[in-house]
C-alpha cells in the first residue's frame, strides 16, 4: 500500500482519517501504515506529525496505538505529534498517556509554538554559509572588488580570533539561535574599503561619519542573509549595528558559545566576520 506523506522542516507529515472514522477507531491500521514507511525516510527528521482532518475521539486502544507508534519512531530519533485540523480533539486519557499527545490546531502553530530542535546544528551551518555568500556578493558590489573569497573556520580557541581596529557589531535573533556578529577591519583595509564604498579617497584621520560605513556594510550583509533565510522560516531579526574602534580590539564570545570566523580576502586585504551563536 502506498503511503503518502510530505517532508517539511524536519517533519514527516502524514494525513490520516483512520482514527476519526469507523475504519480504524483503534488505530491499528494507522500503526501498520506508519510501519510500512521505508525507514530511510526517517533519516534527519525530528518529528512524525499525524494530521487528522476532523474531530477525533481517541479511546484507550487508539491511544495505545499512538503509544506504539511513538515508541516505534523513537528508535529512529523521531517524536510524535498530532494535529486536528477541524474541531476539538477528544481524548479519553488514561494514566500518563496525555504526555504523548500535543494537539495543535494547525501545522503553522505547531512550527511556531512547539519547542522543536530542527537539527539546530544544521540551521547554524546554513546561516553561516548564507552569511558568507551574502558577504561575498555585498563586498563585490559595494567595495567594487574583482573577486572575494571567504573562508569559514570554527575557532576551537575562542581567544584566538585576530584583533581588529575598526568594526561593527550587531545582535541577531532567530527561531533556532541567537547570537552576535562582528565585522572587523585593520585601519589600512578599512581605509581602502571605505574609499571604494564612499566613492571618494579617504585620507588623513578616519572620521566618525566614515566609520559609520562599517555598520552599513554589516547591515547590508545581514539584510541579504535575512532575505534568503527568512523565506525558510528562520525569522531572523537584528538590531541596528554599532561601530567599534580602538587599537587591537579582541573579540571573543561568552563561554560555551560556538565561535566562527569568516575571513574574506580580496585585493583590499582581509575583512573578518566573527559569528558567535547560542542555540
Amino acid at each position: 500500500m502506498l503511503i503518502k506523506f510530505k517532508k517539511e522542516n524536519s517533519c514527516i507529515i502524514f494525513q490520516s482519517d483512520l482514527l476519526s472514522s469507523a475504519k480504524d477507531p483503534d488505530g491499528k491500521e494507522l500503526f501498520n501504515n506508519i510501519k510500512s514507511i521505508n525507514t530511510v525516510e526517517f533519516k534527519n527528521q525530528s518529528w512524525l506529525v499525524i494530521l487528522l482532518p476532523e474531530t477525533a475521539t481517541l479511546n484507550s486502544p487508539a491511544l495505545s496505538s499512538l503509544c506504539r507508534i511513538a515508541s516505534y519512531i523513537s528508535e529512529y530519533g523521531l517524536s510524535l505529534s498530532l494535529i486536528v485540523q477541524e474541531g476539538p480533539l477528544n481524548v479519553i486519557l488514561k494514566n500518563n498517556m496525555k504526555d504523548i499527545l500535543k494537539p495543535f490546531l494547525s501545522v503553522e502553530e505547531f512550527y511556531v509554538n512547539n519547542k522543536i530542535d530542527f537539527n539546530k546544528e544544521q540551521k547554524v551551518n546554513e546561516f553561516v554559509a548564507t552569511l558568507k555568500e551574502s558577504a561575498e556578493m555585498s563586498f563585490k558590489v559595494l567595495l567594487e572588488v574583482q573577486s572575494v573569497e571567504c573562508r569559514v573556520t570554527v575557532l576551537r580557541d575562542p581567544f584566538n580570533a585576530p584583533a581588529i581596529q575598526v568594526g561593527a557589531m550587531a545582535g541577531i535573533l532567530s527561531t533556532y539561535f541567537n547570537g552576535n556578529i562582528v565585522m572587523g577591519f585593520s585601519n589600512d583595509v578599512f581605509r581602502k574599503a571605505m574609499g571604494r564604498f564612499l566613492q571618494m579617497e579617504v585620507t588623513g584621520e578616519i572620521s566618525n561619519e566614515i566609520k559609520d560605513g562599517a555598520a552599513e556594510l554589516l547591515n547590508v550583509v545581514i539584510g541579504q542573509t535575512k532575505i534568503k533565510l527568512n523565506e525558510k522560516s528562520y525569522n531572523i531579526k537584528q538590531v541596528i549595528p554599532s561601530v567599534i574602534t580602538g587599537d587591537n580590539i579582541e573579540v571573543f564570545p561568552m563561554m560555551k558559545k560556538k565561535f566562527i570566523q569568516i575571513s574574506c580576502f580580496s585585493e583590499l586585504g582581509e575583512i573578518l566576520i566573527l559569528v558567535s551563536v547560542n542555540n
Partner: protein, 135 residues
C-alpha cells in the same frame, strides 16, 4: 535621464550611506542634492525647498531610520497635496516580501534592495524618468 539640474533629496540615518549615494549621483552629473537623517527632517526640507521656489523633484530614502522611518515618510509624502506625485525611491537593506508589498501599497515609485551599484541606480533613475515623460 533626469536633467542634471534635478533637485534630489537623499534620506538615510547612516552618514556613510548618504555620502555614498550623493557621490554616486554627482558622478552621474547631478548638482542639486539635499540630504536628511530621518523622515521628519526630510519633510521639513521638502517644505523649505518648496517655499524657496527650488522644490525637490526626486526622493531617495532608506527605510530604517530613527524619529520617522522611511515608510512613514513615504506615507506622509503621498498624503500631502503638495508632494503626493513626487518620484520616491526606497533604497534599503529590508528586502522581505511583506516589506516590499507594504511600500508598493504606500505608493513607492521604485524599491531597491542594498547592495546597490551605481549602474543599477542609474538604470532605475533612467527608467523612472522615461516613465514620467511617457505619462
Amino acid at each position: 535621464m533626469f536633467p542634471k539640474q534635478t533637485y534630489i533629496l537623499v534620506v538615510d540615518d547612516m552618514v556613510a550611506m548618504r555620502i555614498r549615494v550623493i557621490n554616486q549621483l554627482k558622478s552621474m552629473g547631478f548638482v542639486n542634492i539635499e540630504q536628511a537623517g530621518d523622515g521628519q527632517e526630510a519633510f521639513s526640507i521638502l517644505e523649505k525647498k518648496k517655499s524657496e521656489n527650488t522644490p525637490i523633484d526626486l526622493i531617495i530614502s532608506d527605510w530604517n531610520m530613527p524619529v520617522m522611518e522611511g515608510i512613514d515618510f513615504l506615507n506622509k509624502v503621498r498624503s500631502s497635496v503638495a508632494f503626493a506625485q513626487l518620484p520616491f525611491i526606497m533604497v534599503t537593506a529590508e528586502g522581505e516580501k511583506q516589506q516590499v508589498i507594504k511600500a508598493l501599497k504606500s505608493g513607492v515609485s521604485d524599491y531597491l534592495i542594498k547592495p546597490v551599484s551605481q549602474e543599477v541606480l542609474e538604470k532605475k533613475l533612467s527608467g523612472m524618468w522615461n516613465r514620467q515623460k511617457a505619462s
